[in-house]
Amino acid sequence: MATTWQDQIFDLLLQHNVTQFAYVPDAGHKILIDRSLADPRVHSVALTTEEEGVALLAGADLGGARGVLLLQSSGVGNCINMLSLIKGAGFPFLALVSMRGNFGEANAWQYPMGQATVPVLEAMGVMCLAADTPAEALATVGAALTMVFRAGRAVAVLFTQKLLGAKLF
Protein backbone atom coordinates (compact mmCIF):
# COMPACT_ATOMS: atom_id res chain seq x y z
CA MET A 1 0.00 0.00 0.00
CA ALA A 2 1.49 3.30 -1.07
CA THR A 3 1.62 5.56 1.93
CA THR A 4 4.96 7.38 1.95
CA TRP A 5 6.14 9.90 -0.62
CA GLN A 6 8.81 7.40 -1.66
CA ASP A 7 6.11 4.82 -2.34
CA GLN A 8 4.30 7.37 -4.49
CA ILE A 9 7.50 8.05 -6.40
CA PHE A 10 8.04 4.35 -6.98
CA ASP A 11 4.52 4.02 -8.37
CA LEU A 12 5.07 7.09 -10.56
CA LEU A 13 8.29 5.63 -11.97
CA LEU A 14 6.50 2.40 -12.81
CA GLN A 15 3.67 4.31 -14.47
CA HIS A 16 6.32 5.83 -16.72
CA ASN A 17 7.68 2.38 -17.61
CA VAL A 18 10.91 2.65 -15.64
CA THR A 19 12.05 -0.97 -15.37
CA GLN A 20 15.71 -0.78 -14.31
CA PHE A 21 16.48 0.47 -10.80
CA ALA A 22 20.21 0.80 -10.18
CA TYR A 23 21.51 1.66 -6.74
CA VAL A 24 24.24 1.64 -4.18
CA PRO A 25 22.62 0.93 -0.80
CA ASP A 26 21.54 4.13 0.89
CA ALA A 27 19.27 4.93 3.84
CA GLY A 28 17.62 7.83 2.01
CA HIS A 29 16.53 5.54 -0.82
CA LYS A 30 15.62 2.55 1.35
CA ILE A 31 11.95 2.46 0.41
CA LEU A 32 12.60 2.81 -3.33
CA ILE A 33 15.29 0.13 -3.18
CA ASP A 34 13.13 -2.28 -1.19
CA ARG A 35 10.15 -1.72 -3.47
CA SER A 36 12.30 -2.40 -6.55
CA LEU A 37 13.67 -5.60 -4.97
CA ALA A 38 10.17 -6.83 -4.16
CA ASP A 39 8.59 -6.05 -7.53
CA PRO A 40 8.96 -8.69 -10.26
CA ARG A 41 8.07 -6.13 -12.95
CA VAL A 42 11.41 -4.35 -12.56
CA HIS A 43 15.10 -5.21 -12.44
CA SER A 44 16.77 -4.13 -9.21
CA VAL A 45 20.49 -3.81 -9.85
CA ALA A 46 22.85 -3.46 -6.87
CA LEU A 47 26.01 -1.68 -8.00
CA THR A 48 29.51 -1.79 -6.55
CA THR A 49 30.03 1.84 -7.55
CA GLU A 50 27.65 4.45 -8.89
CA GLU A 51 29.37 4.88 -12.25
CA GLU A 52 28.25 1.37 -13.18
CA GLY A 53 24.70 2.66 -13.02
CA VAL A 54 25.41 5.43 -15.51
CA ALA A 55 26.60 2.88 -18.05
CA LEU A 56 23.73 0.52 -17.21
CA LEU A 57 21.15 3.19 -18.04
CA ALA A 58 22.84 3.87 -21.38
CA GLY A 59 22.57 0.18 -22.20
CA ALA A 60 18.92 0.16 -21.15
CA ASP A 61 18.24 3.01 -23.56
CA LEU A 62 19.99 1.19 -26.41
CA GLY A 63 17.51 -1.63 -25.84
CA GLY A 64 14.49 0.67 -25.57
CA ALA A 65 14.09 0.41 -21.79
CA ARG A 66 14.06 3.10 -19.10
CA GLY A 67 16.03 3.17 -15.89
CA VAL A 68 16.77 5.30 -12.86
CA LEU A 69 19.94 5.64 -10.79
CA LEU A 70 19.49 5.97 -7.02
CA LEU A 71 22.54 7.38 -5.31
CA GLN A 72 23.87 9.52 -2.50
CA SER A 73 25.56 12.85 -3.17
CA SER A 74 28.95 11.27 -2.42
CA GLY A 75 28.28 8.79 -5.23
CA VAL A 76 27.91 11.60 -7.73
CA GLY A 77 31.66 12.03 -7.54
CA ASN A 78 32.10 8.43 -8.65
CA CYS A 79 30.15 9.13 -11.85
CA ILE A 80 32.01 12.05 -13.35
CA ASN A 81 33.86 10.58 -16.33
CA MET A 82 31.15 8.01 -16.99
CA LEU A 83 28.75 10.90 -17.55
CA SER A 84 30.78 11.52 -20.73
CA LEU A 85 28.72 8.70 -22.16
CA ILE A 86 25.45 10.48 -21.33
CA LYS A 87 26.53 13.95 -22.41
CA GLY A 88 28.51 12.83 -25.42
CA ALA A 89 25.96 10.47 -26.92
CA GLY A 90 22.79 12.23 -25.75
CA PHE A 91 21.45 9.37 -23.67
CA PRO A 92 18.43 10.17 -21.48
CA PHE A 93 19.48 10.02 -17.82
CA LEU A 94 17.46 10.11 -14.62
CA ALA A 95 19.11 10.15 -11.21
CA LEU A 96 17.58 10.57 -7.76
CA VAL A 97 20.18 11.88 -5.34
CA SER A 98 19.85 11.80 -1.57
CA MET A 99 21.83 14.77 -0.33
CA ARG A 100 24.38 14.91 2.44
CA GLY A 101 26.77 17.68 3.37
CA ASN A 102 24.40 20.62 3.44
CA PHE A 103 21.39 21.68 5.58
CA GLY A 104 22.13 20.63 9.16
CA GLU A 105 24.85 18.09 8.35
CA ALA A 106 26.89 17.08 11.43
CA ASN A 107 29.43 14.87 9.64
CA ALA A 108 32.32 16.95 8.33
CA TRP A 109 33.33 14.15 5.93
CA GLN A 110 30.14 14.65 3.95
CA TYR A 111 30.71 18.32 3.10
CA PRO A 112 33.29 18.18 0.29
CA MET A 113 31.21 16.04 -2.08
CA GLY A 114 27.86 17.29 -0.81
CA GLN A 115 28.85 20.84 -1.66
CA ALA A 116 30.35 19.76 -5.01
CA THR A 117 27.35 17.70 -6.13
CA VAL A 118 25.54 20.39 -8.10
CA PRO A 119 28.64 21.92 -9.74
CA VAL A 120 29.88 18.46 -10.76
CA LEU A 121 26.55 17.37 -12.22
CA GLU A 122 26.03 20.65 -14.04
CA ALA A 123 29.57 20.56 -15.41
CA MET A 124 28.74 17.18 -16.97
CA GLY A 125 25.47 18.37 -18.48
CA VAL A 126 23.05 17.03 -15.87
CA MET A 127 20.33 19.48 -14.81
CA CYS A 128 19.65 19.57 -11.06
CA LEU A 129 16.18 19.99 -9.53
CA ALA A 130 16.04 20.18 -5.73
CA ALA A 131 13.09 19.02 -3.64
CA ASP A 132 12.63 20.17 -0.02
CA THR A 133 9.22 18.67 0.83
CA PRO A 134 7.36 15.42 0.04
CA ALA A 135 4.95 17.27 -2.25
CA GLU A 136 7.84 18.90 -4.08
CA ALA A 137 9.64 15.57 -4.38
CA LEU A 138 6.73 13.88 -6.13
CA ALA A 139 6.09 16.84 -8.43
CA THR A 140 9.77 17.19 -9.24
CA VAL A 141 10.22 13.53 -10.13
CA GLY A 142 7.18 13.87 -12.37
CA ALA A 143 8.72 16.88 -14.09
CA ALA A 144 12.04 15.08 -14.42
CA LEU A 145 10.40 12.03 -16.03
CA THR A 146 9.00 14.28 -18.75
CA MET A 147 12.32 16.07 -19.25
CA VAL A 148 14.28 12.82 -19.43
CA PHE A 149 12.05 10.46 -21.38
CA ARG A 150 10.12 12.91 -23.55
CA ALA A 151 12.83 15.50 -24.22
CA GLY A 152 15.83 13.19 -23.86
CA ARG A 153 17.59 15.29 -21.23
CA ALA A 154 19.81 14.33 -18.29
CA VAL A 155 18.26 15.30 -14.94
CA ALA A 156 19.11 14.72 -11.29
CA VAL A 157 16.45 15.25 -8.63
CA LEU A 158 18.08 16.17 -5.34
CA PHE A 159 16.30 15.05 -2.18
CA THR A 160 17.65 17.65 0.24
CA GLN A 161 18.29 17.27 3.94
CA LYS A 162 15.26 19.50 4.58
CA LEU A 163 13.28 16.64 3.05
CA LEU A 164 15.24 13.66 4.36
CA GLY A 165 16.41 15.12 7.67
CA ALA A 166 20.04 15.67 8.57
CA LYS A 167 22.01 12.81 10.02
CA LEU A 168 24.09 13.22 13.13
CA PHE A 169 26.90 10.92 11.96
Binding site: Q20, A46, T48, A55, A60, G63, N81, G88
Partner: protein
Amino acid sequence: MATGSTGKEIGSAVAAQFLLDRREALPALLGRHEDFLIVAGLSGSARDVAALTRNGPHAYILVGAMGAACMVGLGLALARPDRRVLVVTGDGELLMNVGALATIAVMNPANLAIVCVDNGHYGETGYQKSHTSLGTDLAMIASGSGIKLTQTIEQKADIPAGARLIREANATAFVLLRVKPTEPPPDQRILDPVLGRHRFRATLLGE
Protein backbone atom coordinates in the same frame (compact mmCIF):
# COMPACT_ATOMS: atom_id res chain seq x y z
CA MET B 1 56.38 2.58 -31.45
CA ALA B 2 53.36 0.79 -32.83
CA THR B 3 53.43 -0.68 -36.27
CA GLY B 4 50.51 -1.69 -38.44
CA SER B 5 51.95 -4.89 -39.82
CA THR B 6 49.98 -8.01 -38.95
CA GLY B 7 51.68 -10.42 -36.64
CA LYS B 8 54.40 -8.06 -35.54
CA GLU B 9 54.61 -8.14 -31.79
CA ILE B 10 54.75 -4.75 -30.22
CA GLY B 11 54.51 -5.44 -26.53
CA SER B 12 57.57 -6.30 -24.57
CA ALA B 13 58.27 -9.54 -22.75
CA VAL B 14 55.29 -11.43 -24.12
CA ALA B 15 54.26 -14.23 -21.81
CA ALA B 16 53.89 -17.74 -23.12
CA GLN B 17 50.09 -17.75 -22.84
CA PHE B 18 49.62 -14.79 -25.20
CA LEU B 19 49.98 -16.59 -28.52
CA LEU B 20 46.85 -16.22 -30.61
CA ASP B 21 46.40 -13.63 -33.36
CA ARG B 22 43.42 -11.42 -32.52
CA ARG B 23 42.57 -10.92 -36.18
CA GLU B 24 42.00 -14.65 -36.57
CA ALA B 25 40.89 -15.75 -33.12
CA LEU B 26 38.15 -13.20 -32.44
CA PRO B 27 36.26 -13.73 -35.74
CA ALA B 28 36.54 -17.48 -35.19
CA LEU B 29 35.15 -17.15 -31.67
CA LEU B 30 32.24 -14.89 -32.61
CA GLY B 31 31.17 -16.65 -35.81
CA ARG B 32 28.03 -15.07 -37.26
CA HIS B 33 28.30 -11.70 -35.51
CA GLU B 34 24.84 -10.66 -36.73
CA ASP B 35 23.36 -13.07 -34.21
CA PHE B 36 24.39 -10.74 -31.38
CA LEU B 37 23.74 -7.25 -30.17
CA ILE B 38 27.32 -6.16 -29.51
CA VAL B 39 28.80 -3.59 -27.14
CA ALA B 40 32.48 -2.98 -27.80
CA GLY B 41 34.98 -1.45 -25.40
CA LEU B 42 37.73 0.95 -26.30
CA SER B 43 40.79 0.76 -28.43
CA GLY B 44 41.78 -2.60 -29.91
CA SER B 45 38.59 -4.51 -29.17
CA ALA B 46 36.52 -1.66 -30.61
CA ARG B 47 38.63 -1.74 -33.77
CA ASP B 48 38.22 -5.53 -33.89
CA VAL B 49 34.44 -5.21 -33.75
CA ALA B 50 34.24 -2.32 -36.19
CA ALA B 51 36.23 -4.29 -38.74
CA LEU B 52 34.42 -7.57 -38.14
CA THR B 53 30.93 -6.08 -38.40
CA ARG B 54 31.91 -3.54 -41.06
CA ASN B 55 30.50 -1.01 -38.64
CA GLY B 56 27.16 -2.74 -38.54
CA PRO B 57 24.34 -1.01 -36.62
CA HIS B 58 23.99 -4.02 -34.30
CA ALA B 59 27.25 -2.96 -32.61
CA TYR B 60 27.52 0.00 -30.22
CA ILE B 61 31.17 0.90 -30.08
CA LEU B 62 32.52 2.94 -27.19
CA VAL B 63 35.35 5.33 -27.90
CA GLY B 64 35.41 6.89 -24.44
CA ALA B 65 33.88 6.36 -20.98
CA MET B 66 36.46 3.72 -20.14
CA GLY B 67 35.05 1.01 -17.93
CA ALA B 68 31.51 1.25 -19.33
CA ALA B 69 31.36 -1.70 -21.71
CA CYS B 70 30.23 -4.50 -19.38
CA MET B 71 27.55 -2.41 -17.71
CA VAL B 72 26.19 -1.05 -21.00
CA GLY B 73 25.94 -4.71 -21.97
CA LEU B 74 24.05 -5.54 -18.77
CA GLY B 75 21.52 -2.75 -19.30
CA LEU B 76 20.99 -3.87 -22.87
CA ALA B 77 20.69 -7.54 -21.90
CA LEU B 78 18.08 -6.76 -19.22
CA ALA B 79 16.17 -4.59 -21.70
CA ARG B 80 16.21 -7.23 -24.45
CA PRO B 81 15.91 -10.73 -23.01
CA ASP B 82 14.84 -11.89 -26.47
CA ARG B 83 18.31 -11.18 -27.92
CA ARG B 84 21.82 -12.42 -27.15
CA VAL B 85 24.05 -9.58 -26.03
CA LEU B 86 27.82 -9.77 -26.38
CA VAL B 87 30.32 -7.44 -24.76
CA VAL B 88 33.70 -7.42 -26.49
CA THR B 89 36.27 -5.50 -24.51
CA GLY B 90 39.94 -5.44 -23.66
CA ASP B 91 41.95 -6.11 -20.53
CA GLY B 92 42.63 -2.44 -19.85
CA GLU B 93 39.00 -1.37 -20.24
CA LEU B 94 37.80 -4.20 -18.04
CA LEU B 95 40.43 -3.56 -15.36
CA MET B 96 39.05 -0.04 -14.93
CA ASN B 97 35.76 -1.38 -13.60
CA VAL B 98 36.13 -4.96 -12.43
CA GLY B 99 33.37 -4.38 -9.88
CA ALA B 100 30.94 -4.59 -12.79
CA LEU B 101 31.68 -8.32 -12.94
CA ALA B 102 30.27 -8.71 -9.42
CA THR B 103 27.21 -6.66 -10.33
CA ILE B 104 26.66 -8.75 -13.46
CA ALA B 105 27.20 -12.03 -11.60
CA VAL B 106 24.40 -11.14 -9.18
CA MET B 107 21.98 -10.35 -12.03
CA ASN B 108 23.24 -13.28 -14.13
CA PRO B 109 21.22 -12.69 -17.30
CA ALA B 110 21.35 -15.80 -19.49
CA ASN B 111 21.47 -13.71 -22.68
CA LEU B 112 24.71 -11.89 -21.80
CA ALA B 113 28.25 -12.98 -22.61
CA ILE B 114 31.49 -11.07 -22.13
CA VAL B 115 34.57 -11.63 -24.27
CA CYS B 116 37.74 -9.98 -23.00
CA VAL B 117 40.43 -9.76 -25.66
CA ASP B 118 43.44 -9.85 -23.38
CA ASN B 119 46.74 -8.85 -24.96
CA GLY B 120 48.31 -7.91 -21.64
CA HIS B 121 48.93 -4.36 -22.79
CA TYR B 122 47.44 -0.92 -23.16
CA GLY B 123 47.74 -0.84 -26.93
CA GLU B 124 46.31 2.58 -27.69
CA THR B 125 48.59 4.45 -25.33
CA GLY B 126 51.85 2.88 -26.46
CA TYR B 127 51.73 -0.77 -25.42
CA GLN B 128 52.51 -0.35 -21.77
CA LYS B 129 52.10 -3.65 -19.93
CA SER B 130 48.76 -4.10 -18.22
CA HIS B 131 48.21 -5.94 -14.97
CA THR B 132 47.30 -9.10 -16.90
CA SER B 133 50.91 -9.33 -18.12
CA LEU B 134 52.03 -9.00 -14.54
CA GLY B 135 50.01 -11.68 -12.83
CA THR B 136 46.35 -10.59 -12.81
CA ASP B 137 43.98 -13.20 -14.20
CA LEU B 138 40.69 -11.65 -15.30
CA ALA B 139 38.97 -15.02 -15.75
CA MET B 140 39.72 -15.79 -12.11
CA ILE B 141 38.39 -12.37 -11.14
CA ALA B 142 35.22 -13.08 -13.13
CA SER B 143 34.92 -16.46 -11.47
CA GLY B 144 35.62 -15.03 -8.04
CA SER B 145 33.01 -12.35 -8.70
CA GLY B 146 30.44 -15.10 -9.02
CA ILE B 147 30.21 -15.62 -12.78
CA LYS B 148 29.85 -19.39 -12.96
CA LEU B 149 30.62 -19.93 -16.64
CA THR B 150 34.14 -18.80 -17.46
CA GLN B 151 36.69 -20.01 -19.96
CA THR B 152 40.21 -19.00 -20.90
CA ILE B 153 41.24 -19.43 -24.52
CA GLU B 154 44.97 -19.63 -25.17
CA GLN B 155 45.11 -21.81 -28.27
CA LYS B 156 43.02 -22.49 -31.36
CA ALA B 157 41.73 -25.78 -29.99
CA ASP B 158 39.97 -23.86 -27.16
CA ILE B 159 37.92 -21.69 -29.52
CA PRO B 160 34.97 -24.02 -30.37
CA ALA B 161 34.09 -24.51 -26.70
CA GLY B 162 34.22 -20.74 -26.19
CA ALA B 163 32.01 -20.18 -29.22
CA ARG B 164 29.40 -22.53 -27.79
CA LEU B 165 29.59 -20.80 -24.43
CA ILE B 166 28.83 -17.32 -25.74
CA ARG B 167 25.96 -18.61 -27.88
CA GLU B 168 24.31 -21.33 -25.85
CA ALA B 169 25.00 -20.69 -22.16
CA ASN B 170 22.03 -20.61 -19.83
CA ALA B 171 23.75 -18.08 -17.57
CA THR B 172 26.09 -15.13 -18.04
CA ALA B 173 29.34 -16.33 -19.59
CA PHE B 174 32.82 -14.82 -19.48
CA VAL B 175 35.50 -15.76 -22.01
CA LEU B 176 39.08 -14.55 -21.69
CA LEU B 177 40.70 -14.62 -25.11
CA ARG B 178 44.47 -14.31 -24.69
CA VAL B 179 46.15 -12.86 -27.79
CA LYS B 180 49.54 -11.57 -28.85
CA PRO B 181 50.07 -7.83 -28.46
CA THR B 182 49.80 -7.14 -32.16
CA GLU B 183 47.99 -4.35 -33.93
CA PRO B 184 44.20 -4.63 -34.26
CA PRO B 185 42.64 -4.04 -37.69
CA PRO B 186 42.84 -0.54 -39.18
CA ASP B 187 40.53 1.92 -37.46
CA GLN B 188 37.07 1.99 -39.03
CA ARG B 189 35.13 3.07 -35.97
CA ILE B 190 32.34 5.62 -36.11
CA LEU B 191 33.62 8.23 -33.69
CA ASP B 192 30.35 10.15 -33.27
CA PRO B 193 28.62 8.78 -30.14
CA VAL B 194 25.27 10.39 -31.03
CA LEU B 195 25.22 8.78 -34.46
CA GLY B 196 26.19 5.44 -32.95
CA ARG B 197 23.24 5.58 -30.53
CA HIS B 198 20.71 6.64 -33.16
CA ARG B 199 21.82 3.96 -35.61
CA PHE B 200 21.70 1.21 -33.02
CA ARG B 201 18.25 2.21 -31.74
CA ALA B 202 16.82 2.81 -35.21
CA THR B 203 17.84 -0.67 -36.31
CA LEU B 204 16.81 -2.48 -33.13
CA LEU B 205 13.71 -0.51 -32.20
CA GLY B 206 12.59 0.92 -35.52
CA GLU B 207 12.76 4.43 -34.08
